[in-house]
Subunit: 204 residues, 2 copies
DNA sequence: TGTACATCAGTGAACGCGCGTTCACTGATGTAC
DNA sequence: TGTACATCAGTGAACGCGCGTTCACTGATGTAC
């Protein structure tokens, strides 16, 4: 077989990016080779360069797509964007064992944010744009509570949850890993999705 | 020159580990080659294998040392371990531009925790042990406030701060990066190091 | 303390390997008439 | 609509490179007497 139509080429392009976002989150950018990636797309690696100038161009595209997917999934979990309504569900899912155990399909931040610092300027810029969207859309779920700006609260919540999953995935002790998720889930739920102000002391 | 004394060999070993913890935090494990590392130690790369069975053995040792150093530095910042006293200083330093801009000398977690998941079992185990120490020693700085266990609070604070530095380092927009640090510093200080319970509304 | 031998820290060339990327080629798709 | 030619998506062998690791070697250090 030698050539496919232009429509099929677009689909191939999308399939490469799609597999790449998953592979990058699962194995890191350096840990995902072009030959291995193209094999998963069922093409020879030579054709990669008909779609992208180089690996860097793919990385930039995959980061943006991965961040977008991440937020889409989170907002979908929250149901209709009723302000504050679904935030508890978002936190519970983000800090779940299911999310921890599925890096390839989960949020891009705990999987890849640590590598962004060492990527090329275009990749870092694409990531930053995607992250700004992320913060903004997450912020819309948070009810205004302390007079803090929505975005400031989104920064805290997003970075905090990313850090929790980061550590929960790193340790090899399942109990400790569960403890990290449990403690953070309780904390962030109370801080961002709990009742506005009760005089009762909170319990588990 | 051909051979040095046993005492000098021990020093060489330490110098390799020391340079490795810095290089790994700055460039990642995969991004640090044995030849490049040994050049920084001013030795030819062949002698590396007189000190370590393979790269993995160095990685395990460097993780433990890096985590230990990190906590030592933090506790030193907190001054005498007066409970609750130095926590504000620890948070302020961790979430400072200075820390963000110095990955090689800073906390190991935002720099390397994302890679641990893909390391060998011995490396993950060494990391987990080091992290348990980290949590315990950090927990001793946190005043008991809500009846939560010290360790649970340490998990939240450590993972939250690590996530904040992780994202602050990833973005290429200095303003956004500063915002992340500022918002998280205000939040975690109020949550963990602030006054136990004031009726006043907090301000900046 | 002095001598003779064994050890082994460090040297530097070499290895096999997988990486990102290139390139001549194939033949179905797209286009001009 | 049919024919003739140009394009180009995908193929598969090949490249230069740096990686982790090995190894024969050197000569100062360590040890036995």
């Amino acid at each position: 077989v030698a050539r496919t139509s232009r429509k099929e080429k677009e689909q191939t392009h999308r399939r490469i990016v799609e597999k790449a976002t998953q592979a990058f989150r699962a194995s890191g950018v350096a840990g995902t080779s072009i030959p291995a990636l193209m094999e998963e797309v069922n093409l020879t690696h030579g054709t990669f360069y008909a779609h992208f100038a180089n690996k860097d161009a793919l990385v930039a595209e995959a980061y943006v797509r991965g961040l977008g997917e991440t937020v889409d999934n989170l907002l979908h979990l929250a149901g209709e964007p009723a302000p504050g309504g679904g935030l508890e569900a978002v936190i519970a899912h983000y800090l779940s064992a299911q999310h921890r155990d599925n890096p390839a399909g989960g949020c891009l931040l705990p999987a890849l944010a640590g590598e962004v610092r060492r990527e090329s300027p275009p990749v870092r810029h694409a990531f930053t744009n995607g992250l700004n969207d992320y913060f903004e859309r997450l912020g819309q779920l948070i009810p205004e509570r302390n007079g803090d700006a929505d975005k400031d609260q989104a920064l805290v919540l997003a970075s905090g949850m990313a850090g929790a999953v980061l550590l929960a995935r790193a340790v090899d002790d399942p109990e400790l890993s569960d403890s990290i998720l449990r403690a953070c889930r309780a904390f962030y739920t109370a801080a961002f999705a709990g009742p506005p102000a009760t005089s009762d002391h909170e319990n588990d």
